[in-house]
C-alpha cells in the first residue's frame, strides 16, 4: 500500500489513494458537475458565436454552420480514442483496475462522437458537395474508427471475466491506436488515386476568426461533456463490478456450504 503524499497548499493529498476504485468513486461524483456545468455553458456560448455572431459563408451559405457540431465531434472521436489508448497502456503496464475501467467508460462516448461526426458530416456533404457520402479520406477514416470503437465494445461484452476483458480490450485498443495513422494514410492514398472519378471534396471554408473561435468553444464544450459523461459512467462500472464480485463470492460460499 503506497503511502506517499503530496503537499498542496494546506492539504496533504495522497494521490495514489485515488487509484483504488472504491476511493475514486466519490471523487468522480464530486468532479462530474465541475465538467457538466461548463459543458452546458460553453455549448451555449459556442452556439451563440456560431449562429448569431459568425457571418454567412460566401460559398456554402448557411449550410456551413454544421461545422460547429461536426468538427468538434470528429476531434473528440479521435481524442477519446487517444485517451482510451492512454488508459489502456496504463492498464497493461501497471495492471491497474481503474485505468481499465476508465478506458471502458470512454468507449461508448467515443463511439457516439464518431456517429455524430458521420451523421453531421453526411448532412453537410449533401448541400455542399451534392452527395451524402463522398468517400473522402476523412469521412471514410471516421467510419473505420467507428468500427474500431464497436470492436472494443463488442469484445468487452463477449468476455465474461472482467480482468481478462480489461486486458484484452486494452491490447485491442493499443493495436487499433497504432493502426489508426496507417489506416488514415492508406485511405488518403486510395482517395487521391481515385480523385478523378469521385466528387472533389474541398476542406472547410476559409476560416473567419469568428468561425474558428466558435468551433474551438464547441470543441471545448464537447471535451468537458465527454469527461463528465465518462466520470458518471465509470462510477456505474465501479459499482457493477463490486456487485458482481459480491454476488459471485456469495454464490461460491453457498456452493461450498452445500446451500445451492
Amino acid at each position: 500500500m503506497r503511502d506517499s503524499t503530496l503537499r498542496t497548499k494546506s492539504h496533504n493529498v495522497n494521490w495514489f489513494r485515488y487509484s483504488s476504485p472504491a476511493s475514486f468513486y466519490p471523487l468522480a461524483g464530486a468532479l462530474a458537475p465541475w465538467f457538466a456545468v461548463p459543458a452546458i455553458l460553453l455549448a451555449l456560448a459556442g452556439l451563440y458565436i456560431g449562429f448569431v455572431l459568425a457571418p454567412t459563408d460566401a460559398q456554402q451559405g448557411e449550410a456551413y454552420r454544421i461545422i460547429f457540431v461536426h468538427v468538434p465531434a470528429a476531434w473528440m472521436s479521435l481524442l477519446i480514442y487517444l485517451a482510451m489508448a492512454f488508459w489502456s497502456a496504463l492498464a497493461l503496464g501497471f495492471n491497474t483496475r481503474l485505468s481499465a475501467m476508465m478506458a471502458q467508460a470512454l468507449a461508448p462516448t467515443g463511439a457516439l462522437m464518431t456517429l455524430v461526426a458521420l451523421w453531421t458530416g453526411a448532412l453537410w456533404g449533401k448541400p455542399t458537395w451534392g452527395t451524402y457520402w463522398a468517400w473522402d479520406a476523412r469521412m471514410t477514416s471516421e467510419l473505420i474508427l467507428l468500427f474500431l470503437y464497436l470492436g472494443v465494445i463488442a469484445l468487452r461484452q463477449a468476455i465474461d471475466a472482467p480482468r481478462r476483458a480489461d486486458r484484452a480490450c486494452a491490447l485491442l485498443t493499443l493495436v487499433g491506436a497504432i493502426n489508426v495513422p496507417i489506416i488514415y494514410f492508406s485511405v488518403q492514398w486510395w482517395n487521391t488515386l481515385h480523385q478523378g472519378a469521385s466528387v472533389s471534396v474541398t476542406s472547410a471554408p476559409r476560416m473567419a476568426a469568428l468561425m474558428l473561435s466558435g468551433m474551438l468553444v464547441m470543441a471545448l464544450a464537447a471535451w468537458c461533456y465527454s469527461i463528465a459523461v465518462a466520470l458518471v459512467r465509470v462510477r456505474s462500472i465501479i459499482l457493477e463490478r463490486e456487485n458482481a464480485a459480491a454476488g459471485s463470492a456469495q454464490l461460491d460460499g453457498m456452493a461450498t456450504r452445500g446451500a445451492l
Binding site: F51, G61, I66, A73, T109, K126, V232, R233, L239, N243
Partner: protein, 53 residues
C-alpha cells in the same frame, strides 16, 4: 426568426444535423444516469440482503 429556421434554404440539413447530435447527447445522458441508478439500486439491495459489506 423564420429566417433563422430557414437557414438560407439549408434549414433541413442544418437542423437535421443539430437535431441528430442533440438526440445523441440526450440519449447518452439519460442512458448513463439510468445505468448509475440501476447500479446503485443493485448495490443497496445487496447491502440490504447482507451479501455486500
Amino acid at each position: 426568426m423564420s429566417d433563422f429556421l430557414h437557414m438560407g434554404g439549408y434549414g433541413y440539413y442544418v437542423w437535421s444535423a443539430y437535431g441528430g447530435a442533440l438526440l445523441a447527447v440526450v440519449a447518452e445522458i439519460v442512458a448513463v444516469r439510468w445505468r448509475l441508478r440501476a447500479a446503485r439500486d443493485a448495490t443497496s439491495t445487496l447491502i440490504a440482503v447482507g451479501w455486500l459489506k
